[in-house]
């Protein structure tokens, strides 16, 4: 058992449902007790979705438990098939109902007899994988099912499109800024003269999956969703893929250059250098911001970063490489992707943190005392308590992460949005500090409660007075450093001299 009240990724069935309900005309049947169906609420409330979520719960109650659930599940599948005429129904249990060890494959087989549509059982282990892994797996499962089916029917489309084309894989409902990212990626592809063959799974029709191989390559903006599918398509059809997240000007350029290489290997003659240069220097404002005076003043400031693998890695690189901000540590909750994450960020931060424990993450922030945090909603609230500003850069999703206004994180407009996020996080933090400094009247009231004499050390009157002159937001740090210095030097009473001697010694 694990004591917790916050988790960074949801249970497996949420991942399955995110993929299922992203597709057009796919219905999911959740075999679960009452109350496990909050996915529908999340989609309806967080995304302000106008349509009914295509997920029906076949409710397991005490009676169903006693009688066995096969009849009810099969009945619900056939009912939904008749009423909604979906292309595909995906059945999934939840953590709870998966313990019942029922032969759900058999339920699906039974239902397939009567249903007009395809019926699939989502194939995930509800205790071993997270929401993210389950989503990746379910997408792969659906794609494979329809590729196999097309092959059997002989109507698979393997001939490449005349113009260079791409499948964008990984855009899904309840994904962090996914809708805006998708728009921006489509615009970017249009700018590059690349036709978008399919977007997966968002708004995709399963009937069209047979045309996936038509595209010249697959683009994977996120680590968390699509990798299995891309690998599968590479293995089956030798389709290349580009899995560089185009976040920040440097990585966006790298992604475009990788696309150029892929296209040229496919017989095209693309040269995006000029486009990249124009976008980087003049269309996007990010490169200019990096060079501008505002950003100069962020140089060397300390930040910590935490989030899913994609976003935490991308932001770490942007902060360190594009803005000269010191990333003290960078962390992720994507334990399953630890190796990739370490490889991506090690060069750009002092330390790497791999943890799913919100308590550990919070403690590390408190200990680090960074000038700014980039993290999830949880870290934002940790920051609130510690009075450290936080920019939210990653799921778990929250209604605030579904802005109505255009807020992509990828591509060139994404670089602009990130500049605002980073700059505002720092300046609003700075503003609070400045308000404290310029608060005026009450500067005289010494903040003496922080001057807790430790057992072995005493602060002289002038030492305390001097400490009180230090602005509140660094006072604790100065106090700790001075006390450390005093202990090292065997000084028992800390005077103003000690304080400044410590400053000179420790900054040397």
């Amino acid at each position: 058992m694990k004591l917790a009240y916050w988790m960074y990724s949801g249970p497996a069935h949420i991942g399955t449902l995110r993929v299922a309900s992203s597709f057009k005309n796919v219905h999911a049947i959740m075999h679960a007790p009452l109350g496990d169906d909050y996915f529908n609420v999340m989609r309806s409330m967080l995304e302000r979705e106008r349509d009914y979520t295509p997920v029906t719960t076949s409710v397991v109650d005490r009676n169903v438990l006693a009688r066995g659930s096969q009849e009810k599940v099969v009945d619900n599948i056939t009912r939904m098939d008749a009423a909604e005429k979906p292309d595909l129904i995906i059945l999934t249990p939840t953590c709870t109902s998966s313990i019942l060890q029922e032969d759900l494959n058999n339920f699906v087989e039974r239902a397939s007899f009567d249903a007009q549509c395809d019926v699939l059982l989502a194939d995930v282990n509800h205790y071993r994988v997270t929401e993210l892994q389950a989503a990746d797996r379910t997408l792969h499962q659906v794609v494979k099912f329809y590729i196999d089916k097309a092959r059997k029917h002989g109507d698979i489309v393997t001939e490449k499109s005349a113009k260079p084309s791409v499948n964008i894989i990984g855009i899904s409902t309840l994904g962090f800024h996914n809708n805006h990212d998708c728009t921006e990626l489509k615009r970017l592809m249009a700018d590059l003269g690349i036709e978008v063959n399919m977007v997966l799974p968002d708004q995709a029709s399963v009937e069209d999956l047979k045309t996936l191989p038509r595209a010249w390559f697959n683009l994977l903006p996120y680590r968390e969703l699509g990798c299995m599918t891309a690998e599968y398509l590479k293995a089956e059809f030798d389709m290349p893929y580009v899995d560089i997240t185009p976040m920040g000007v440097v990585e966006t350029a790298r992604c475009i250059r990788a696309i150029q290489q892929v296209l040229n290997q496919g017989g095209s003659d693309a040269n995006y250098d000029e486009f990249i240069d124009e976008q980087t220097r003049f269309v996007s404002q990010a490169a200019w911001f990096s060079r501008s005076i505002d950003c100069q003043n962020l140089t060397g400031k300390k930040a910590v970063v935490y989030g899913d693998a994609t976003h935490a890695a991308a932001i770490t690189k942007i902060l360190a490489r594009e803005m000269g901000i010191q990333v003290v540590w960078s962390g992720t909750f994507c334990k399953h992707d630890e190796d990739w994450f370490r490889e991506q960020v090690s060069e750009y931060c002092d330390e790497v943190l791999i943890s799913e424990d919100h308590g550990e993450v919070g403690d590390r922030i408190a200990k680090t005392e960074p000038a700014v945090i980039f993290g999830t909603q949880m870290e934002r609230h940790v920051g609130k308590r510690l009075n450290i500003p936080c920019g939210v850069i990653s799921a778990p999703i929250h209604v605030q992460n579904f802005p109505v206004g255009y807020r992509p994180m990828v591509g060139y407009e994404g670089t602009n949005q990130l500049v605002d996020l980073i700059y505002n996080s720092f300046t609003l933090g700075m503003e609070d500090h400045l308000m404290e400094i310029f608060g005026g009247h009450d500067t005289k009231e010494a903040i003496t409660q922080t001057i807790s004499a430790d057992a072995d050390l005493a602060w002289s009157k002038d030492g305390s007075a001097e400490l009180a002159k230090i602005p509140g937001f660094v006072r604790n740090k100065v106090k700790r450093n001075t006390e450390k210095f005093a202990r090292d030097q065997h000084i028992q009473k800390i005077t103003a001299e000690t304080l400044y001697a410590a400053k000179e010694a420790l900054s040397g």
Partner: protein, 473 residues
Amino acid sequence: MTLADTTPQPLEFDCETGNYHTFCPISCVAWLYQKIEDSFFLVIGTKTCGYFLQNAMGVMIFAEPRYAMAELEEADISAQLNDYEELKRLCEQIKRDRNPSVIVWIGTCTTEIIKTDLEGLAPKLEADIGIPIVVARANGLDYAFTQGEDTVLAAMAQRCPTSADIAAKTPVVEKAADQNAVKKLFSFGGKKEAEPTETAVEETVYADHEPLVLFGSLPGAVTTQLSLELKKQGVKVTGWMPEQHYSDLPVIDPGNFVAGVNPFLSKTATSLMRRRKANLINAPFPIGPDGTRAWVEHICDALGVETHGLEEREQKIWDSVEDYVSLIRGKSVFFMGDNLLEISLARFLIRCGMHVPEIGIPYMDKRYQKAELAMLERTCREMNSPLPKIIEKPDNYNQLQRIHAIKPDLVITGMAHANPLEARGITTKWSVEFTFANIHGFSNVRDLLELVTRPMRRNEALDSLGWESLVKG
């Protein structure tokens, strides 16, 4: 009056597939940990439960809440780990970090299915760590949403002391016959009464009646209002279950009177009757001026206290909210069914002049809701409104077809369907809000109507802008 006596209802009851959306009963943690300030709630379940809580709790999750998940991992499910040792480890950590007066274990569907013997483990662990452990099975296999509170209060009812318990614990105090006095000493500990004269004066306003304990978790301000309402009639509330502190659980002796404030507390009522031998006052619930008056009347009646001025009081409240009532009079409201407050709300809204084609409700205890159902029927008769159809365990899919056919003026629904209905031009109100808002008693009638009318007031203004339907086709 006992629950055994069920008179047949002319109301039409039906039952559907039970494929409906409601919050998991473990969500009761959200308001209970807030109410009982020295408690800690431990929900023993899976990642699915935990993720639900985290999403349902919104911002509360960040406030270092006094609840947590004991997340069952694969080794727990496959019984490779010892439940007792695991729970002990967690509870010791809770004791160390937060030191609550009580730990409430919330069992879930998973603990039901893997048959974790929480009731068996609790007494041993309670003895081991020295903190009371209350066990409640707030699982979705048996209960819906607000019934989670019912499971907790039913369990807690067993922990209410008797006069004898108190007497045994306070040997220095003279064993007074008046258990109220004993209760006072107990709950206030060593504190001195600051205004003894005031208190003495106060006592005289009360009639001489059997002790009365009210049950149901309501915010402090609302319990005060209801207590004051009864005080006006000379009725003294001996205690509330729960109180702000676990250590203030009221004394309940056999023969004492108890009354509930919410319609979803049938298990608690049964527990109080069967195991504590209390007398349940079966009354409509104090929602709306009509319900509040009936509730006060039933209580006074049971305690042999004569009421006075209630009719005028009710009328005055009605008069003060006429501006709101006039907005909904003659309109229709459809309850999809979510929090078990549906019958009381429907009865009140019919009294306001609304029509109710259908009341969906997760679970219907016709005995515990007997007085409320009777009042619903009477209200319909008096208001000349057709009797609503009551659908237990509704099927949301079917309900949506009926809603699109009937086009009610207002649908009171769970969170999953509100936005899609609004997008189709159907005005909705979250049922969840009635669970959290202060809607009980005379003083809150205006707030209750504010809630009910808000979407109608808003959409009326918006409709003039001509965006009624926001879906294609």
